[in-house]
């Protein structure tokens, strides 16, 4: 399939720990984006990494991209209860107007 696939499907950690989630994709990409979704709410754009970048930081977020392995990872450092959410890495289908193709996401639970 074309979608980005997140792994693991669910992750439970204690507050203060780091959370790492992975994304694999099958198509070539121009960039890869990560989104967060709090329970039943809209998606929040977290970070975009371009295909010629290997690593990008934004606050407590660190994203890596390995285009040779068609994979990306999102690291959240010093996690907080407020980080509890689902995280998605949709791919972009430029042949269809740039539509985003989502996997099922990683459901992160951060326990206080």
């Amino acid at each position: 399939s074309q979608q980005g696939e997140e792994d693991p499907q669910a992750l439970s950690i204690q507050e203060g720990e780091n959370a790492t989630m992975n994304c694999s994709y099958k198509t070539s990409i121009n960039n890869l984006q990560w989104y967060r979704q709090n329970s039943g709410r809209g998606l929040v754009h977290l970070i975009l990494i371009r295909s010629n970048e290997r690593e990008k930081h934004s606050g407590r977020l660190r994203v890596t991209l390995d285009t040779s392995k068609k994979s990306s990872s999102l690291l959240i450092t010093a996690s907080r209860a407020a980080d509890t959410a689902s995280y998605f890495c949709p791919t972009v289908d430029y042949n269809q107007g740039g539509k985003l193709i989502f996997g099922q996401g990683t459901e992160l639970s951060v326990k206080p």
């Binding site: 709410r41 998606l43 107007g97 740039g98 539509k99 985003l100 989502f102 099922q104």
Partner: protein
Amino acid sequence: DAGVTQSPTHLIKTRGQQVTLRCSPKSGHDTVSWYQQALGQGPQFIFQYYEEEERQRGNFPDRFSGHQFPNYSSELNVNALLLGDSALYLCASSLGTLNTEAFFGQGTRLTVV
């Protein structure tokens, strides 16, 4: 700067009825895409509007239709509602059709009973 706004936030409809959901894009954005998200799943692309025309469509029946107005706002209409249409409907806006960075609204939770 207002982000993407959707209305209503929640809606309950009866099977067979029709519903209209609304979306105002982020200021400066001209493209609106709609997604349906069933519980526990990732969002699924319904269609995209640009320059008041449907540009791309996902695998959804003709019961799903839309419109984009000159001010770039958009409506999603669903006719002959089925129980399976119960979902969170998300609107995303972007500048241009390539969705390099899409901004999502908070969604409309539709329940069909």
